[in-house]
């Protein structure tokens, strides 16, 4: 079976700064893969490079058996969709939800946009009453649902999630995570999810990669991480840190 996403020796360099250095990974179709690390570890850069938002300096990215070039075709942008961290920054402030959802449909030449918009809103649990609202009339969780609806409306096979819940309250985070799991199961999507929160990543993903300073530290299964079967000191220190503050630690 061809991998949904295969990255080999990927590097991203901005002027003199190496943001990502020789990173390789493969994600099977329908798998959920996590990227964990601190700020500056290159985890978001990796996602952006896949989406075509960061320059690829070296290495290859293969999506569904097709090698990606510098210029991606329209089919790619339908197949791969991205959800960003900040729901306040990723929705156009002067467009209604309807307009926001219509744009990708218009670009890709879908005809039954009316029914698709209604269905997309329904799928993310918002309902038709949200259709003609502006994003400032929505809460953070509702906005993130709109962003997810916008990503799903083109029926992609791969969803790139860049910290999709870190701007949300804990209770809203639970709702959005549940929604993501639900759509993944229903549509057999492949997820690549970036998060700084180990608990969120182990909850959502089967396998994960720990990153630091633009390099891969180690790849392991979530169950191994939960059982503390880790080989690298850095992963261990992340694990300790995620357990909270200890007074005499």
């Amino acid at each position: 079976m061809t991998a949904a996403l295969a990255i080999d020796g990927l590097s991203v360099v901005f002027d003199d700064f190496v943001a990502l250095e020789d990173v390789s990974l493969t994600v099977a179709p329908g798998e959920s893969f996590g990227l964990v690390g601190e700020s500056g570890s290159g985890k978001s850069t990796l996602l952006r490079a896949v989406a075509g938002l960061a320059p690829v300096s070296a290495g290859t990215i293969v999506v569904d058996g097709k090698m990606l070039g510098d210029k991606r075709d329209k089919a790619f942008y339908r197949q791969v969709q991205m959800v960003f961290q900040d729901p306040y920054g990723s929705l156009h402030p002067r467009q209604t939800v309807d307009r926001l959802l219509l744009e990708p449909l218009a670009i890709h030449g879908f005809d039954d946009s009316e029914s698709r918009i209604v269905r997309a809103l329904d799928e993310v649990g918002l309902g038709a009453s949200f259709r003609f609202r502006y994003s400032h009339q929505l809460s953070g969780g509702q906005r993130q649902r709109v962003a997810i609806a916008r990503a799903l409306i083109l029926e992609p096979s791969i969803l790139l999630l860049d910290e999709p819940t870190s701007a949300l309250d804990a209770s809203v985070q639970a709702e959005v995570l549940n929604l993501l799991e639900q759509v993944r199961a229903a549509r057999k999507l492949t997820f690549v999810m970036v998060s700084h929160d180990l608990a969120v990543v182990t909850h959502m993903c089967d396998r994960l990669m720990v990153m630091q300073h633009g390099q891969a530290v180690e790849q392991l299964a979530s169950t191994d991480l939960a059982a503390h079967r880790v080989t690298q000191d850095y992963t261990r220190s992340l694990l300790t840190a995620s357990e909270g503050f200890r007074r005499n630690g």
Partner: protein, 277 residues
């Protein structure tokens, strides 16, 4: 234990186009020389509570309280000049993101000295020495170098240490920390909390730690207040968080994913309208 801060029936409201909105609706608590955590989600009024104590409520906001007393000083009656003398000297505040709370066009050392000399008549050399001592106290390895750096030249963790140094240099009795580590990476978060923990313990300060992270607060504080819709729904010793009774507190604890616990889907919070009454 002597009472440092006594808050009774604190209310903060803001006029909007659709009438007054009460952000804080009758909050009461007392604080001694201890660590008190205030936890709540966005819009619960936790930050406005801290700002009202600090005297940083926006001009158009209205504060009323039966009692708002700091060390015997009635804060509701204090003049602007009196509040200014307290602020920074006896009550200090640490904000969430050092990128925005530090002055971008002033070196870190000068900012610390500015705080010190606003409140104490100290000479130039003495001020510099104390600022450097303070930078060393927040475990900055090379204080002489960091002293001359500007905020954009340091990392988030370093910036937040500088912020703590600035807030503690005048020796306040009460420190309000509003999400002091939310903008930092997890491993840096622990270092900063460790520094805060030691300084607060050594100096016998009172600390109000405002955060959305229930788990973090309970591991750091002695007592926790849980707020919902502008009110306190539950108050309990941090060590007994697992015995929380209010359904909101329990729901909040329950809905977070935990490493090694397999729960699909995650339990979600079922908000009851009566919690906000």
């Amino acid at each position: 234990m002597s009472t440092l801060l006594d808050v009774r029936d604190l209310r903060v409201s803001f006029p909007t186009r659709t009438g007054m909105v009460e952000a804080v609706r009758g909050v009461s608590f007392t604080l001694g020389r201890e660590r008190l955590g205030i936890v709540g989600e966005s819009g619960s009024g936790k930050s406005q509570t801290g700002r009202a104590i600090m005297g940083l409520t926006p001009e158009h906001g209205r504060i009323s309280a039966e009692k708002l007393e700091f060390n015997g000083i009635d804060l509701t009656k204090a003049s602007k000049a009196e509040r200014r003398a307290l602020r920074g000297k006896r009550i200090a505040m640490i904000l969430q993101d050092p990128k925005y709370s530090l002055n971008p066009v002033m070196s870190i050392g000068r900012q610390i000295i500015e705080t010190l000399r606003t409140h104490e008549p100290v000479g130039r050399a003495e001020a510099r020495r104390r600022a450097l001592d303070m930078l060393a106290a927040v475990q900055i390895r090379d204080p002489e170098r960091v002293f001359d750096l500007y905020p954009h030249e340091v990392s988030g963790g370093m910036g937040q240490r500088a912020m703590i140094a600035m807030m503690l240099v005048a020796g306040p009795e009460l420190l309000i920390a509003d999400e002091p580590t939310s903008a930092l990476d997890v491993t840096v978060q622990l270092d900063v909390l460790g520094i805060l923990h030691r300084l607060v313990a050594d100096r016998g300060m009172g600390l109000i730690f405002i955060s959305h992270d229930l788990r973090l607060v309970s591991s750091f504080c002695d007592r926790v207040i849980v707020m919902y819709a502008g009110r306190i729904v539950e108050e309990l010793p941090a060590s007994r968080l697992s015995e929380a009774e209010h359904p909101y507190t329990r729901g909040l604890l329950n809905c977070m994913p935990k490493i090694g616990v397999d729960r699909h889907p995650l339990p979600v919070l079922d908000r009851k309208p009566e919690w906000a009454l």
